[in-house]
């Protein structure tokens, strides 16, 4: 068959075709930030801080009717196999942009005129699918910061590996596979706020892939909720 898929349809890391990697989300991990979250998505390790709403600097940036959302997706030099130059790459600038555009529809920015909300996504270790994990954690951190939101944003990729449509592509599958399609989804409003595709899919494969990615997002959403509930609705008294 193929080195990415064993004879009994197991993937390189032993997962089935519709299985997510192990996901762990923790809320409120940075004391200074207004909101923060830490996520482990397979081998991805990402920390997100939210600062704001705060006064816009320089002042001319401010909009009279709403807040400005700014996002920075940044990889640590040691987060990948070969040291990454710490200066923002073109890839990181693009991911910062699509991340902002994926999160913005969920936020009620009109509630905070003349302000800025900063989202800092720091990738400590990367394992394929880091933009989705970053968006997922950022959404949790924004909720932790108490920003008014219409919905959460849950993100997950699907793709094509060894001829099969599979959920949640890891690093190896991304590099050797046939297609990778990151998706972000607003689970209650049923809206897609991030969609990218690298690789070839037929029209039917695309439909299958998108449906599978959305199923993955719904699973991620459940974990986001649980993480927030643990912090805010836990009956345990904090020491």
């Amino acid at each position: 068959m193929n080195m990415l898929m064993s004879d009994d349809w197991r993937r390189v890391d032993g997962r089935r075709w519709d299985e997510l990697r192990t996901v762990k989300i923790e809320v409120g991990v940075l004391k200074n930030a207004d909101g923060s979250a830490y996520i482990e998505f397979g081998k991805n390790k990402i920390v997100v801080a939210v600062y704001g709403p705060k006064e816009a600097h320089p002042k001319h940036l401010a909009l009279p009717d709403r807040s400005i959302l700014r996002c920075r997706y940044h990889m640590q030099p040691f987060s990948v196999d070969e040291r990454k130059n710490p200066a923002p790459s073109r890839r990181e600038i693009e991911i910062s942009k699509v991340t902002r555009e994926a999160l913005e529809p969920a936020l009620i920015l009109e509630d905070y005129p003349r302000t800025v909300i900063d989202v800092f996504i720091e990738v400590l270790q990367s394992d394929g699918g880091s933009r989705c994990a970053g968006i997922t954690a950022a959404s949790v951190a924004l909720a932790d910061a108490g920003i008014n939101m219409r919905d959460m944003v849950a993100a997950c990729a699907a793709g094509k590996v060894a001829g099969r449509i599979v959920l949640d592509i890891n690093d190896e599958e991304d590099k050797m596979g046939e297609a990778d399609m990151p998706v972000a989804f607003l689970p209650n409003l049923k809206q897609i706020s991030l969609l990218q595709l690298d690789g070839k899919l037929t029209k039917d494969e695309f439909k299958e892939c998108l449906n599978l990615a959305i199923q993955g997002c719904m699973q991620v959403y459940k974990l986001q909720r649980e993480a927030l509930m643990r912090k805010y609705f836990s009956t345990e008294v904090e020491a």
Partner: protein, 276 residues
């Protein structure tokens, strides 16, 4: 790159007007929802380049030039040539464009155009090897936006694709592990013609080829590239704003249909140029 938000009030009024018209299947400039503006492509206008194309899509105007050099391959891909795509919005493009390093919009533009071409495997990079692991052809595509009136993604992509289709590269002979340039030129090895189709959602309507005015009012944008066989090879959603599942499935069908039309046009122009 795109027109800055000048007045939220005017934008709001325009948007209302647009949505009313779209409900009747019409647009401000009289087009139907899935009509492109007039597309004009001129190829081979820059003689110093290995390939070139000027694209006019309505008032959006873009020029692409291809330069081919001999370079060393990447260490992890010793048997593949190189393709590097860059895009820039010139200060000539609008009153809001300024000189300086590319901003995030220009970076996204270049990366989305690059992705459509790379993922479709338009250029047979494995046929661009001169000496395995040592010398390969490096294909540089540089695109500049001269005038903006929306849909830079498609205009830029058509310009690069047309320029690549009419590119001629110098032929080399290998003598004792050294390269000797000959007088002959050959075309680039081409597998397929990828065509990008960009759509905007305004309210509940999906329109193709948005103008600047429509881009100012759009909720969300999506660019879908397809190949000869109607396969999707790259996608990018843009702008804050969302799509539903049904809207995206609809967009994919439009992208395949429109892609075929535009591919036929690009093909006929580039074939004619090669004969003439």
């Amino acid at each position: 790159m795109m027109m800055k938000r000048t007045s939220t009030i005017v934008e709001h009024l325009k948007r209302i007007q647009m949505i009313e018209l779209l409900a009747k299947g019409k647009r401000l400039d009289g087009r139907g929802l899935t009509d492109y503006r007039e597309l004009k492509i001129e190829v081979g206008l820059i003689k110093k380049a290995n390939g070139s194309a000027m694209v006019k899509l309505g008032n959006t105007q873009v020029i692409a030039g291809i330069k081919v050099e001999v370079d060393e391959p990447f260490s992890d891909m010793p048997d593949k040539g190189l393709f590097i795509c860059n895009a820039e919005v010139l200060p000539t493009a609008s009153a809001y464009a300024e000189p300086g390093p590319p901003d995030e919009d220009a970076i996204e533009l270049a990366r989305v155009v690059d992705r459509g071409i790379r993922e479709s495997e338009m250029i047979a990079l494995d046929k661009l090897v001169l000496i395995s692991g040592k010398k390969v052809y490096a294909v540089f595509a540089d695109v500049s936006v001269l005038n903006t009136d929306g849909n830079l993604f498609d205009a830029t992509s058509y310009a690069v694709v047309s320029a690549l289709l009419t590119t001629r590269i110098p032929k080399y002979e290998v003598k004792d592990d050294r390269l000797v340039k000959t007088e002959d030129t050959i075309p680039l090895p081409i597998n397929t013609i990828p065509v990008s189709v960009t759509m905007a959602r305004i309210g509940d309507s999906i329109i193709v080829d948005p103008t600047s005015e429509e881009e100012m009012c759009m909720d969300a944008r999506v660019t879908i590239s397809t190949d000869d066989q109607g396969r999707i090879c790259a996608m990018q959603k843009g702008n804050p704003g969302t799509f539903t599942l049904e809207q995206l499935n609809n967009a994919v069908s439009i992208a395949i249909d429109k892609g075929n039309e535009i591919r036929a046009l690009i093909k006929s122009i580039c074939m004619q140029a090669q004969v003439g």
